[in-house]
C-alpha cells in the first residue's frame, strides 16, 4: 500500500503543454501513472502525444475523465487560480509543483481548498511517489524502490539524496512525499505522519526538515503522542548563519528562531532518531526496524 496515491489514482495535468508540464507528463506516463487528461486553456480538444485528451477547464476534464487528482505546472502568477479551479471542480487531491507563488496568495487559497474538502500538496514541492505504483510530480522514479519506509520532506533534491542512499542500502519506500519549503503550504508533516501511521504497509518513517518555523517541533510532539511506528529525522541548515533580519515580528510570533539545534533537540526529546548526516538515516532506520 501507500499514502495519498496508488495504482488507482487518475491524474490530470494543469499546464500539460508547457515546458515543465509536458516533460514531466511524459516521465509520469513512463513510470506508470494513469494520466487521464490535461488542461491548457485554448487547447481543448487537442491531444497530448496523440494520447492524452486536453481540456480548456478543469471542470470539463474532471467530468470527462473522472480524475481523482491533479498536478499543477503553471507559472507562479497563475498558480493560485489553478489550485482554486481544481478544488472548485471537485478534485480531491491537488499537487502544486510551481515555485514562486506569492505567500499572500496562499493565505487565500488555503481556506478555500479546506472548505472544498480537498487536500493540497505544495506549492513549491517535488510532488510524491509511491514506488512501483504511481508518481505525481518530478521525483526521479529510478532512485526509488518499493519497500516498507515512508518519507516526508520539506526539501527537493535533499529528498532525492536520502532516498537514493536508502535505495542503495536496499531500504525501499511505501511513499515519498515532498511537502515543499514555502512558508504556507497545504499538507504538512503531521498530515503525512498521521497517514503513514495508518498505512498498514509502512513500518517506519523518515522526516527531513529544514531551519525556519516550528513545524518540525510540532511534528516531533505528534510522534511521541500519536505514533507507534519508529520515526527518524534529519534537519538541514545546522551551519546556516542567522539572517540579517529586518523586523522583530518573526521571532515574536513564533517565540522561536527555528534553528536546526532547536529542531534536533525537539526530535531527541520526543523519541525521533536524529541523523547528523543524510547517510546516518540509513543506519538509524536499520536499527529502528530490527
Amino acid at each position: 500500500m501507500s499514502i495519498f496515491i496508488d495504482k488507482s489514482t487518475r491524474l490530470i495535468v494543469q499546464g500539460i503543454t508547457g515546458r515543465d508540464g509536458s516533460f514531466h507528463t511524459k516521465q509520469m506516463i513512463e513510470y506508470g501513472t494513469q494520466v487521464v487528461g490535461g488542461v491548457t486553456p485554448g487547447k481543448g480538444g487537442q491531444k497530448f502525444e496523440d494520447k492524452v485528451p486536453i481540456f480548456n477547464t478543469v471542470a470539463e476534464a474532471v467530468k470527462a475523465t473522472r480524475a481523482t487528482a491533479t498536478v499543477i505546472y503553471v507559472p507562479p502568477m497563475f498558480a493560485a487560480d489553478a489550485m482554486m479551479e481544481a478544488a472548485d471542480a471537485g478534485v480531491r487531491f491537488i499537487v502544486c509543483i510551481t515555485e514562486g507563488v506569492p505567500v499572500l496568495d496562499m493565505t487565500r487559497v488555503n481556506p478555500f481548498i479546506t472548505e472544498k474538502g480537498a487536500r493540497l500538496l505544495g506549492p513549491n514541492c517535488p510532488g510524491l511517489i509511491s514506488p512501483g505504483q504511481s508518481k505525481v510530480g518530478i521525483i526521479p522514479g529510478r532512485i526509488c524502490t518499493p519497500g516498507p519506509v515512508g518519507l516526508v520532506s520539506r526539501s527537493g533534491t535533499l529528498t532525492y539524496e536520502v532516498v537514493y542512499q536508502m535505495t542503495r542500502s536496499k531500504i525501499g519506500q511505501t511513499t515519498c512525499v515532498g511537502i515543499g519549503g514555502d512558508p504556507i503550504n497545504g499538507t504538512n508533516f503531521i498530515d503525512c505522519l498521521d497517514a503513514f501511521e495508518k498505512d498498514p504497509t509502512t513500518e517506519a518513517v523518515v522526516m527531513i526538515g529544514e531551519i525556519g518555523g516550528t513545524d518540525e517541533q510540532e511534528a516531533a510532539r505528534f510522534v511521541r503522542e500519536k505514533m507507534k511506528k519508529p520515526v527518524v529525522g534529519f534537519i538541514a541548515g545546522q551551519t546556516a548563519p542567522p539572517g540579517r533580519r529586518m523586523g522583530h515580528a518573526g521571532a515574536i510570533i513564533s517565540g522561536s528562531a527555528g534553528t536546526a539545534a532547536e529542531k534536533m533537540q525537539a526530535f531527541e526529546e520526543n523519541g525521533v532518531g536524529v541523523a547528523k548526516r543524510p547517510i546516518d538515516v540509513v543506519d538509524l532506520l536499520k536499527r529502528a526496524m530490527r
Binding site: G156, T157, Q238, T239, A240, M246, G247, A260, P278
Partner: protein, 380 residues
Amino acid sequence: MNIHEYQAKEIFRKYGIPIPPGEVATTPEEAEAIARKFGTTVVIKAQVHAGGRGKAGGVKLAKSPADAKSIAEQILKLTIKGLPVQKVLVTPAADIASEAYVGIIVDRASKRPVFMASPAGGIDIEEVAAKTPDKILRRPVDPRYGLQLYQAMELAFFLYSDMKQVRAAAKILQQLYKAFFENGGSLAEINPLVTTPTGDVVALDAKMVIDDNELERRPDIAALRDESAEDPSEVEARKASLTFIKLDGNVGCIVNGAGLAMATMDLVKYYGGEPANFLDIGGSSNPEKVVAALRIITSDPNVKAILFNIFGGITRTDDVANGIVTAIKQNPLRVPLVIRLTGTNEEIAVKILKENGLSAMTDMDEAVKKAVALATGKAA
C-alpha cells in the same frame, strides 16, 4: 526584498498614516541643509538593511545644522552588520509621551497574516516578547476580508485608553494592513508608534519587507530595490537567478536545491571544514548559470577549494558539466575543484568532464571529505 525606512514611510504616507516629514541625504552637507530647512532638532537615521541600527550608533539627535553635518559624517562612515551606510534620513525630532509597537507578518502556523500590538514599544520589543508575552496582543486576519474595524479597535484598546487615541490608532492599523496587503508585504511594522504630549498618534519608524514572489506583478515596488545597499556578489547572483549567501569559510559550494545546499554546508562542517557560501543554482539549470556561479565563488579570495554537489532531477547534470567546462575555459581556476554529480544524464556529464580532463565522484560524503582536505591543505 528589503526596502529602506524612508521608502516604507513613503508607502505608509500614501495610505494616510501620520508620519513626520523627512528627507534623505547622502552627504554631510545635504544633511546640514535639510536640518537648516527644518529649523529644529533633528534625528539622523542610517538607512541600511539591518536591524539594531540604534544600538550600532546609526540613529542620533542633532541640535543644530552644524551638529547634523558632523553626525551625518560619522554615521555615513559606519558599517552596520557588514553593510556600509550610504544614506541617512533626516527628520525633525518628536516629543514622545509613549511608545507602542504594531506589526503584521504572514504567520506560518495559522497560515494567515497576524497583527501584533504592544504598549511596550521601542528598541527592546523582542525582550518584551520573550519575558512578558502577555504585553503583546496577537490577532489573525482573514485575508479574504481584511482587518475589520472591530479588530483594529480591539488592538487599539490594548494600546491606549484615551478614546481619541484609540480611534486614531485603529485607523492607522487598518491603513497599515492595507499597505501591507496591497503591496505584497511579508512584514510591515511601526516601532515605535508614539503619542506626542499633545495627544497625537504618530509613526516614528517604518519597516517593510516585500515577498520576492510578488515583484513580478508589482513593477513599481520592484523599482524600490537599492542594489547599492546589498552585497555586490549577492546582487550578481540574483541577476543570474541564483541564491547566494556569502559566509566566512574557505570551501566554495555550488549545489542544486536549497535543502541539499544546506546539507552540503553541514557536511563540510561535519568533516572539519568551513563553507565559504550558500549557493543554490535552482532547478532548471543551464550552463550560463553554472558559469555565473563559478565566477561569483572564485571572486572570493578566501576560497581554497570548490565543491560541486549536483543531484540531477529537473537539473540536467550534462548542463552543469558543460557549464563547468565553459567557465574553466574562460577563466582557468586557481583552486582545486571537486565535482560530485549523479542523476539525470549522468553518463553524458561524466563523458563531457572526462574529455576535458576533469573527473566526477558519485558519493556526497566522499566528495565533501576530499574538498575539505584540499581546502585545509591536508590532501595527500
